[in-house]
Amino acid sequence: MGYEALIDRLLKGDTRAAARLITIVENDIASAEEIINAILGITGAPGSGKSTLISTLTTIFVKEGKKVGIICVDPTSPLTGGALLGDRIRMKKHFTTDNVFIRSMANRGQLGGLARATEDIIKILDVYGCDIVIIETVGVGQSEVDIFRSAQSVLVLLVPEMGDDIQAIKAGIMEITDIFIVNKMDLPGADRKVSEIMQMLELSINFKYDYENINQGNAKVRKWTPKIVKVNSKTGENFGNLLEIINEHRSYLEETGVIENYHLKRIRNETLQILKHKLTKKVEELLHSNSQIDEYIRLVMDKSMDPYSMANLIIQLLGIE
């Protein structure tokens, strides 16, 4: 089937066309027109309840009459290249819900918590007509922060009794969060987790970075102060609060104009990713086909050239200096 026919069907909201186009962009780079909507990113440690939280949020969004697209990323094995995608299993009650589209993806070795094609899939879900796109990252540790480049609101899940207050002041994931969610609030230690995060936030007021530059540098607005909420994803307890905070963040983005900034950053980042992908491919081709490079490699092996000088020579060969 040609892309045009598929895109035609996608514009009419055809589910199969959306699914097939995702397969295509997952396997190679393609592009689509963009219609903007709300993009939530959910991240957190393995087993913190990301999929269950998404399932409960989706129930609420669907009740509000919204069309929801969900992208769940799970890790690819570094040994075999295979993957077991098991997020969908937590969202069973939405398998036949109209207006819910769930797609599982393997990260295919991409670091950062997402898969390479995530951006493209967000676009397809946009065109498909989703009002809200929810992205679930792989279970993350401390430094998988790609989600903040893709999502408009970053929700980080934490659970009680995991890590002490030192964990809360480390760099990385705690710095990119818009909303902290302490899940499994029925467990002991939930309140202590909340106060640890609160203390961390109080300390993190930084005068240099306390303002967000908008309109490419001139105007400045006050930064969003991350919010904390505790919930129970299984029972839906406190989800009213969570939704209020999600909406509050959304209004902040729109009223301050930070959203425009976000789109600029996102496109810049996307361009960089595409260029990286294409250039890497080109370099790999060159490395395997150019006899000149084989000679350089010999020279490096004989220690008569260093690898940095070789890299510069190869860049000259590529003709992009």
């Binding site: 699914a19 190679d28 077991l84 995608l85 069973k92």
Partner: protein, 133 residues
């Protein structure tokens, strides 16, 4: 399709049968063979299965049934796939499938029929060699 394309497989347990040890072992074996495997869990209705196939766009679907409900469930799933115009997905059923039931299931387009004791590498090979796209 590009050559480095990953094989994507859906492993499902349709019907009321809750015995999913076999399905999990097969999911694991396919994963270890370098495939991307989605496991949907137990108690799937035919609509659940078909909707998941539509959204996930897998290359192969492995239905695992040990309860004897294959004659009732499999044809419904195949009919619904046809209604949705899906004809390029390998659909296999395994578990406890008596020989006398196989011709009818085959007529509906099902393949495989792997039972207890099948070697895992045989199932991996089966998936690799029977893909429709």
């Amino acid at each position: 399709m590009p050559e480095n394309r990953k094989i994507k497989v859906l492993v499902c347990k349709p019907g009321l049968d809750g015995h999913d040890r076999g399905a999990k072992v097969i999911a694991r074996a396919l994963r270890d063979a370098g495939m991307e495997v989605i496991y949907t869990g137990i108690h799937q209705t035919p609509d659940d299965v078909v909707n998941t196939i539509i959204q996930e766009d897998p290359d192969a679907v492995m239905l695992s049934i040990l309860s004897g409900a294959h004659n009732a469930l499999c044809p419904i799933i195949m009919d619904k796939l046809k209604e949705n115009g899906i004809d390029d997905v390998l659909v296999a059923v395994g578990g406890i499938i008596p020989d006398e039931d196989k011709p009818n299931l085959e007529a509906h387009g099902l393949k495989g029929f792997h039972g207890p004791g099948t070697e895992l590498k045989e199932i991996v090979e089966f998936v690799k060699t029977n893909l429709k796209r």
